[in-house]
Each structure stands twice: as structure tokens, then as C-alpha cells.
Subunit: 159 residues, 2 copies
């Protein structure tokens, strides 16, 4: 059965993005959903935790695994305001997620970065799509991109 | 100046791999080196911590960032007994490492997995090389693979 993404979840991920900004970090948010309920929330914490792995997606997935007590999260979907980088997509595969729903496209991030260079934010991208990562595994991970993209694009302006 | 990998560091990474096995995890080890000294050690902890992100490379890098108090580790080299997956390579990029020295090749892991299927260990691979990841960034990360490969290959037999 095809997965139908829900606006309420992406809106909650957007709320987490603003929470990250409030703490002084990149305005990016994520969450995981299982059985139609939010399983875990994640806000970007790379700056506040001095942790290069603390993208909002990783924060949400790690919290979910700790909550469930398993490194595998079958039946779980990740929502993220920005299309995930290869690190986050790979973690979704290692964690056996069902799929990922994302807002802005990687190309949006790359374009914004080039148009708004900032040493303070060090906005960098790895230009490999989540689909490319998934295509090089034996996993069946669905990818829905551009969901509430216009609302997620607004987050760039508060980076 | 070209980086010359040192056997003593890979041997210490191999020791960390056996430490991981002793704790009941995958036999994979890593460490980071800065200014010719070990900065941090990492053992695979995915099973013992129920954490899909806890590859030995990530454990070593996160420990280094916590020790240094910065998410960026310029001038630091990662040693790992197995060629890193896209997650770990991406973290090396986000953390601004100088380079990665690895033992076995990804192809070695994939071949071993196919010849030794095991439900218990769930050995999976994402078949994308670290070089491919680096080539899709603007970073200059050196990659030295196959260092002490024969000794690292022996680790598979104690998975």
C-alpha cells in the first residue's frame, strides 16, 4: 500500500526546526512516525552539542532506537524538513526504516548556499541524492520528496 | 605532503575491533590521530547500544569531538579496520577530517557476507565507495585503502 504523508507530521518537524534555531543551531527538524503516531522528535544539534553527527534526522532516529530498545525500526517513517544527506539516508537504511518524507530538495540547499555564502554557518552539501544511496542497497526504502516544500523553503531564511 | 599511514595505529584499531567483539558486537575498530598521537578510540557499539549510528568510526569521531570541544577536527586522520560506509564517510566530511586510512575493501565485506549469510549478524552493505562520496563534495579528504588489509581480513572470521 502506498504511504500517504500527513501534513500534521511535517508541520511538527517544522516546529522542531524552529526549536533548533531557538537553541542556536541550524533550522532543521525531523521526527519519526510509527502506527500513525509520533515515535520521536529531532532538532538539529550539531552546533550546541559539538557533534557532526547530530543532524535532526539522526537525533530523531537515535531517540527512537533508545525508546524502543532496538537499533532496527521496522514500520517507521522519518519526516524531515530538508532532503537528507548521505549520512542520514544511510542511517535510515541501517535502522531499517520503511521510508523518508522530506521537504526541500538537496538542490534547494545547494542553491541557497551558493547565493548566501556565510562563514558563520558553514553551510555545506554532499551532492548525492537519497535515491542513489537506496539504489545501492538491497533495501526497500520509499522516498517522498518535496512534501510541503514551500513551507520548508522558508526555513532557509532563518538559518 | 603525502600522508604516510602508520602500522601501529592500524594495529591499535584492530585491537579495538577485538574489544568490540569481546563486548558482543561486530569485530570492527577505529581511531583518530592528530599530530602523530591517538586522539580517540572507537569500537563498534551498534548492538550493545541499540544504536544504528554506532559504527566504530562514528564512535571514534564523536569521542574526538567531545574531547576537543568542536564538531570540526581539522588535521585529524581516521583509521578504520574496514573501508567506511557512506554514513561514516559523510561524517568524516562533516567533521572536516584530513583523511581516512582503511583496511579491508567494501568489496571484501560484500563478498564475505554473500559467502557467509547469517541472520544473527545481519551483515549488510551499501555499495558506494568513500571516493564517490568525496567526489561529490568540495572537500579535500584523502583516502588510503587496503592498509594492512590481510590482517584486517582476518577480523571477518571472528564476526
Amino acid at each position: 500500500m502506498e504511504y500517504r504523508p500527513e501534513e500534521k507530521f511535517m508541520k511538527e518537524a517544522i516546529r522542531m526546526a524552529y526549536l533548533a534555531r531557538g537553541e542556536g543551531d541550524y533550522t532543521i527538524g525531523a521526527l519519526t512516525v510509527k502506527d500513525g503516531e509520533i515515535l520521536s522528535l529531532g532538532e538539529n544539534r550539531v552546533k550546541v552539542d559539538n557533534d557532526p553527527t547530530a543532524h535532526s534526522e539522526i537525533v530523531a532516529i537515535r531517540r527512537a532506537t533508545q525508546k524502543v530498545g532496538s537499533r532496527h525500526l521496522e514500520g517507521t517513517v522519518l519526516y524531515t524538513t530538508h532532503e537528507p544527506c548521505p549520512m542520514c539516508t544511510s542511517v535510515a537504511i541501517w535502522a531499517k526504516l520503511d521510508g523518508i518524507v522530506s521537504g526541500t530538495h538537496i538542490e534547494d540547499m545547494d542553491n541557497y548556499r551558493k547565493q548566501n555564502p556565510s562563514k558563520e554557518w558553514l553551510w555545506r552539501t554532499i551532492n548525492i541524492s537519497p535515491q542513489y544511496i537506496v539504489d545501492h542497497t538491497e533495501e526497500e526504502l520509499f522516498l517522498i520528496r518535496g512534501f510541503l516544500r514551500e513551507e520548508c523553503l522558508k526555513l532557509f531564511h532563518s538559518m
